[in-house]
Amino acid sequence: MYGGGNVFETMKATALADEDPILLAAFEARIDRGEKIEPTDWMPQLYRKQLIRMIEQHAHSEIIGSLPEGTWITRAPGFKRKLALMAKVQDEVGHAQLLYSAAETLGKPREEMITDLINGKSKYSNIFNYPAFTWADSCFISWLVDAGAIVNQIANSKGSYGPYCRALERICAEESFHLKYGHHCVIHLATGTKTQREMMQAAVNRWWAPMMHFFGPSDKISVHSEILMKWKVKMASNDECRQQFLDMYVPKIWELGLTVPDENLKKNTVTGEWEFTEPDWEEFKRVINGDGPCNAERIAVRRTAEERGRWVREALLAPKAKYVAPLA
């Protein structure tokens, strides 16, 4: 699941001018031929830096994203839903491991990434800074947040960096279960009793704004993003992903008799583009910079797990303790 729109940092144009032109040309030729880049290949600093940032954010999103869903495992309605949600959360944490490993091949150790996460230095998908009040919220996440992430991940799996592509292929294969499971949960509520329908509608109302934020603000057309597209780091713009998501899922929401809380949302039959009320990007900025309803809790829970699990890791690393049978 869970990889959202990426916000790329800007870098000085001079950084690229410092690269060896011959190596750079060979690198670009390899990408143009459609061949993937592997870890020991020469690559420009900008490429390495942006990939680490992107893959690391994606990994953190998997870890943090499993928190609002994980919290619903014990309260999921029925044994089968509990089993399925447990399996899904296990998948998500597994995805984080795959992604951390892919980022590690670029030179940043996993423990450093985790340290940056729990110290608030790295970002993760903003949508998980919102709380899951009801079971229907958990269903919304499983179906539509995953759906949004799949749009991004399928695009990225055609990128140029071998280890990231391999991880994403594995991840996308597992996402098909998440998507079907989430849809199944939402259908059950939406076609159920009046109370169930109202609960599902309330969840859609709560999550629509964060869902529109999920793909990130419109990309500025800059030399920088042009280079990242050319190097197949960035495979689709945030707007393209948002449009694709709306195209695939708004009809599926509507067919269940649910409404979307945006009266301007409609598909322009002439352009084929979806029109919608511009998301509140001030709120997006405020939340991504730490002032959302759950930012502090997400980081605190992750940090506590890290601290309270330390003795286990230390015990595993120092297996010198000798077994002595009890004395009496």
Binding site: A87, L98, L256, E297, R313, L317
Partner: protein, 205 residues
Amino acid sequence: MILKSLDPRVTRLSIELSPDESSVAKDGLDQFETYEAFVQSKEGKPFEHAGPVHAPNEEMAFLFAKEQYSRRGMFCNAICVIKTENIKVSEYTDNGQDIYNLVTDHPSGNENESFEIFHLMKRGKQHKHEGSVLAKDFDDAMAMAKKEFQSDKPVFNVWIVKSAHIMASEDEDKDIWDTLKEKQYREATDYKAADKIKAFKENQA
């Protein structure tokens, strides 16, 4: 201030908000070693690289690999793990160039150790087990691999590992992957709902 959450179990953790920053800085201590995991999807198919795991030792690596790469048992017949530092990685080639064409050594004929050879047939894909050779060291194993396995199809990268450095599942334990029947809930096919949507729409009309 103690964290209060919507989830009572999180509240019960009694987490102090605004902790001392220095307490979370980690030293290198708990960076586990990495192992590469390989999966054989079916009887008779080659082992294929699945991905890495981090673990404090080989046994834990094996358990993590089983969870991470074979929890959907239907695609697994056997797994093995190899400590990453025990894998000798050749150069990578590209654009149709076969890595074996860069190998100029001839086999020494001194065949006292068994090595396993893995090929990368396309950049971005996974390494696959090609076979094993007897040789005196890694360079010699590469020369032997060229003799045994070079073909018309270019190989872009070779991994070589001593056979003794592989920890693999036992054939007699194969039933650990026979979990499909009780784990249907992990599969997309278990969540069909088209009938429900159809019935709902008919009801609305």
